[in-house]
Symmetry: C2
Subunit: 329 residues, 2 copies
Amino acid sequence: MKQPSLIPPTYDDIAAAARRLDGAAHRTPVLTSRQADAIAGAHLFFKAENFQRIGAFKFRGAFNAIAQLDASQRRAGVLAYSSGNHAQAIALAASLEGIPATIVMPEDAPTSKMEATRGYCAEIVTYDRYREDRMAVADKLAHERGLTLIPPYDHPDVIAGQGTAAKELFEEIGELDTLLVCLGGGGLTAGCALAAQALSPHCRVIAVEPEAGNDGQRSLSEGRIVHIEAPRTLADGAATTHLGDYTFPIIQRLVSEIVTVSDQALVETMRFFASRMKITVEPTGCLAAAAVLQGVVPVKGQRVGILISGGNVDMPRFAALLAGNSVEL
Amino acid sequence: MKQPSLIPPTYDDIAAAARRLDGAAHRTPVLTSRQADAIAGAHLFFKAENFQRIGAFKFRGAFNAIAQLDASQRRAGVLAYSSGNHAQAIALAASLEGIPATIVMPEDAPTSKMEATRGYCAEIVTYDRYREDRMAVADKLAHERGLTLIPPYDHPDVIAGQGTAAKELFEEIGELDTLLVCLGGGGLTAGCALAAQALSPHCRVIAVEPEAGNDGQRSLSEGRIVHIEAPRTLADGAATTHLGDYTFPIIQRLVSEIVTVSDQALVETMRFFASRMKITVEPTGCLAAAAVLQGVVPVKGQRVGILISGGNVDMPRFAALLAGNSVEL
């Protein structure tokens, strides 16, 4: 088993990340909704990271990692493998810091994501996701070109950056009874749990996974990192196969419970967001809210924080889901 | 020609309306977007009334009018004829003030709007819009039951209430070079123009109509209120047939120009809002933004205010428009 070689992040790292992000990231709004409160019978506070730069919280971790690179690393450039929000986050963060970025993406990644990534001046290297291993492709490139790999979640600087989302939430609205966060590889969950421990110590932190990919839930109950096959779920941002060596121990220590929600619940929540709260939220971004609005996690009478992780969804797909049509997973 | 019998509103009435609305209406956010700024080559400030209560600015005028009723008017109740946002606005404002509300709606009004209106405890009276005149239906009801009719736009209190949207915008971001407002019957435009005159006297106010219903544009050029047939346009909130006796003189005096945009431009703008700015905006709410983003009104280098009037659109319709499918007008 690979052992972490860097020091695990603490709340101090989140505070330092917040200083780095000041002026670079948006301080996203905290939304409330009388209708959502009525459904849940609770006071819900939605941290709207769909309004973050690149449309998702991923910018926080990416920028926090890249801002700490030394001069020679900056000259050589950075590398990421991602077909999703992490790619755009790395591309934008690198571009803001004047650093070249290379992104390894499957050749069948959504056009909109490729274009958005190219729009931030990153070089895209594609691979065949049925025949090639993206880690191998990325490692080869990193080695050949001397690039620094910024992983999507399992890195102390990435975790600390993501934690600033919850830090802002607690600073704006005070302590909470429950905080719900979507769970993929665990970067956001681990960072937010560290922030909750420091700023709202009695707050229970609950992570929410897609039903099809409950590796986190199983990992928590088995006490080890469980690996699964890539899950087929609408929540593409949480379609990870395992937690990380940095994220798992933090989650094990600070997260009370991991629950799952169905893809159907995600679609209903997405429709609620679009029609009632007037916001675009991608399926992954609906995970935490779905757990509350669909009654998976009882929160009656509580003050509840809900992380909306992002709002990047192709319009044809968004339209199909709102219309109740099935889409390809 | 019917003559106004009440005193035309002034900025003082807007300031008074703002005091009445404090705590009842939301102070909606002002959104910015680097992408929108890049398209326009300007600094755009979007006043997001889609986040207002009932999902549109109409709540402002409705509440301001209802809050000023005397005790006997309150006992008897209020009446409105509307199939759209004004109906919900009156229903909610009346309910907050503990006043009975009756809404006259065409029997084929969208189910979602009927349900939303009923949800605020209003009584709905339907009519056949192909055989009956809604004004006649409403007048008869008002007379029989002693109800006070709150018109959708042509009333000083309604105009003053709508003006608070622009007042908040100027207070938050300072003076502007141009303010764009969607134009139906002119309540929002007149109110916002009065606010602009008081708070940003050098700001040019431009009203935006749907191409299919340019009665305002024609009225301005002919110097009289031009009546047209009910226009067929996606912008249902601006599908009015004529300006009002109160709204026209204010618009004539304070609005520099009235421009039109096509339904196609509205759909493209709606898609931009959903995909890039992550917000749901109804077609009427896209009018002002479309004029800038589609280059109808040149604003290069300027500070530009854009009123987003509302976000109430049925999800099947929203989905169809985002998907590029045609919908019934």
